[in-house]
């Protein structure tokens, strides 16, 4: 298949893009063995520091544990300042609209009344939480931390354009890798940061703490913030511990919390201490066994009652899943126009919805060209990449979609942009995406950049770490 390609560094085999020229010159001067040694050094440091993630259901060959490293690539992904500026504006706009939408869904539902989103799309959605109806949250912010996945693909003229691939508004992860990747680059190649004006990202934990404090309940002037983790066997445990440490707040588990007299407390060595803001890294379903899954031991019994009374803030709010569901995604551009009266700055990927008979017909007829996704799937599971699948796989998926058309959407197979990456045979182009982390407290803000994920398998478009993806440092070049 001869789809147009877009490489972030090389405009053509002989021409390096302007914002990469400095780096490319430097890279050309590096002896191969030096770069190889740096790669080994990076791996050793990541292992010693324990920057690992757990793979569900996996075991090492010696059964010693399931902690894996996420491969780190030495070649940074570079974005020029003007591109970032417009991306940042687009992200602020999009996250504002999404927060307005969630507030609307759980209050007056104007967008349904206006006929822009069919009501069954909301009320039949498993992510809709009736418990949140009429609940007021501080600053009307629901998604305090949003991970917006952005890809770049060539348009008809071969120019790279950014698209939002999906919004992650529940418990988006990966920000610790953004920070650790930068630290690693500065450790391995300090000279590069003298030669290039790379915008810093290390203040992310400060912004996060500021965000969390800004949404504390009105009842307290000096809020106590905690990070709630499912525990050390969770795949993102490193990140939970890392963020708690960087913010200087307690990392708690459900067993550390209890509810008394309509407030939440944590057990400390000096008796109970009240908790005001919970940055939870636990899904809604596990937050409160009295309301959601009764068998969950990861949450705290009675938490939702306190939350509904406004005596504790949960970040992200309960029920944000209604806005990042793949079945809601196609409506985001309309939301921006409806709530903000603006034209969307960032594009959506054109999307076919199985629930529309016309779209479904197209989906079933062109499955071999499309990416078909289960609307409630995540992490690269439950999807079909048409061009990369066998005839049998396609037929199997076709049957599944036919049986439950509502459950699926489809998008054209975007030729994700590539970036030169170290692989077995040397340096080769590999597909990448970008996840900036957008913070909403008093206002919407973010550190420049995000986490760049890279699909290390040749031709693969799946960048998820659970599917063998790696990461790169992301540079926003200042003018």
């Amino acid at each position: 298949m001869s789809q147009p390609m877009f490489d972030e560094m090389n405009a053509s085999p002989s021409e390096v893009r302007a914002h990469y020229q400095n780096y490319a010159r430097w890279l050309a001067q590096q002896p191969e063995e030096v770069m190889a040694a740096r790669r080994e050094e990076a791996e050793m440091i990541f292992r010693r520091v324990g920057i690992t993630f757990a793979v569900y259901g996996a075991k090492d060959e010696d059964g010693a544990g399931t902690e894996r490293l996420i491969p780190f690539d030495l070649i940074p992904r570079v974005i020029p300042a003007h591109e970032w500026k417009s991306m940042e504006e687009g992200l602020v706009q999009r996250v504002n609209a999404l927060n307005r939408f969630i507030h609307d869904v759980y209050h007056d539902q104007e967008i349904i009344k206006a006929g822009l989103i069919p009501s069954d799309q909301i009320f039949q959605n498993a992510q809709f939480r009736p418990e949140m109806m009429g609940v007021d949250v501080p600053n009307q912010v629901y998604s305090h931390i949003s991970g917006i996945d952005i890809v770049r693909a060539p348009n008809a003229d071969g120019v790279g354009e950014y698209y939002v691939l999906e919004d992650n508004l529940r418990v988006p992860s990966g920000v610790s890798y953004m920070l650790e990747d930068r630290k690693m680059m500065m450790r391995l190649f300090p000279e590069l940061f003298g030669q290039n004006r790379v915008a810093p990202v290390a203040h992310y934990p400060d912004l996060l703490l500021e965000t969390l404090r800004a949404v504390s309940p009105a009842t307290t002037a000096e809020p106590t913030v905690v990070v709630l983790t499912p525990g050390m066997y969770n795949s993102a445990y490193f990140e939970h511990a890392f963020l708690a440490q960087q913010m200087g707040v307690e990392l708690v588990e459900g067993q550390d919390l209890f509810v008394k007299d309509n407030f939440v407390y944590m057990r400390t060595t000096r008796g109970p201490k009240r908790v005001d803001v919970i940055y939870r890294r636990v899904d809604d379903d596990f937050l409160d066994p009295l309301v959601f899954r009764p068998t969950s031991t990861l949450g705290c019994a009675g938490l939702l009652g306190v939350y509904r009374s406004g005596n504790v803030t949960i970040c992200n709010a309960v029920g944000t899943g209604i806005a990042d569901d793949k079945s809601i995604y196609p409506y985001v551009p309309k939301m921006i126009e409806f709530y903000l009266g603006q034209k969307p700055i960032l594009n959506n990927v054109p999307t076919f919805m199985g629930r529309n008979p016309e779209d479904l017909k197209y989906m079933l007829a062109h499955m071999d060209e499309l990416v078909v996704k289960e609307v409630h799937g995540a992490g690269g599971y439950g999807m079909l990449v048409g061009p990369a699948s066998t005839r049998a796989e396609i037929e199997e998926f076709r049957a599944v979609v036919k049986a439950k058309p509502d459950g699926y959407i489809a998008q054209p197979t975007l030729s994700l942009s590539t970036c030169p990456t170290y692989v077995q045979s040397g340096v080769a182009p590999r597909h990448i995406d970008l996840r900036p982390f957008v913070l909403s407290g008093k206002e919407v803000q973010m550190v420049p950049g995000g986490l760049t994920r890279v699909a290390l398998k040749e031709g693969s478009l799946v960048v998820n770490s659970s599917q063998g993806g790696g990461t790169k440092d992301t540079w926003i070049l200042e003018d």
Partner: protein
Amino acid sequence: MLSRTADHLFWMSRYTERAENTARMLDISYQTSLLPQSAAVAQVGWEGLLVISELMPSYTAKYGKDITPRNVMDFMVRDESNPSSIGSCLRAARENARAVRGALTTELWETQNATWLKLASYLKTRDFERDPGAFFEWVKHRSHLSRGVAVGTMLQDEAFHFYRMGSFLERADNTARLLDVKFHAVQSDFFGAASAEDQEYDFYHWSAILRSVSGFEVYRKVYRDVITPERVAELLILRPDMPRSLAASMNEVVNNLAVVANEMSGETQRRAGKLKADLQYARIDEILSTGLHAFLTQFLDRVNELGGRISRDFLVPAVH
């Protein structure tokens, strides 16, 4: 601080200390077994090791009645089913550290993690069998390093004091067990007039005990005299300036406890203080005349009870 965090810190240091003491005892049994002595004497040493840790039943269940150096070593170094093996202790220490890595300094976490990574490769390659002495030395060094990094980098807040309390409570326990077993082994001719051969055996026996707690040179410095069981007992029980003695360990427990005291811990502090005072004002001849074994058994019970009380007061408090 969070009770669970304090609990993990407390156990992280206890397990690290326990791994060190197990390595010390194994090392001494191993070194002693290299000396020209009867097989029976060596056997007593290996048996003693299992008795100290109350592991005889689980050892015989797995390896049978035959106590061989190779099996004991395997059981005490790498056996994952034995919670007191060096492997199990260092794994538990690292798991506890990982559970609260955010509460540790980066240096301390990396020290614990690096120990665990290296241990895994030691156990996998069975490198420790080729030179057990070097392996035990390594375990001791990692424990020294971990302690030194903690003291050198941690803020001296509650976290630090729970960490320290764990080390010294474990050390008090381990030193008492060591004394109990080693004195037990020679009880028959404890105060009798021994033959020249026995005297020679005694010298190695007592000097081995001293070495296992880094006390051989200390003994020479303090007493400038031949090694006698009474003085060994005095040094390891009553000398507050001997870092691995019961008195020194209890002093540290009491001091750290005082800093973290809360509304519930009054009785725990009183009992810890009493145990400390009992050592402070005791005399070795009194202890020996009433019976060392009885004294140490009672001491271990009291230390054990103290651990339980610290748990209830601070680490795993009852709901509300």
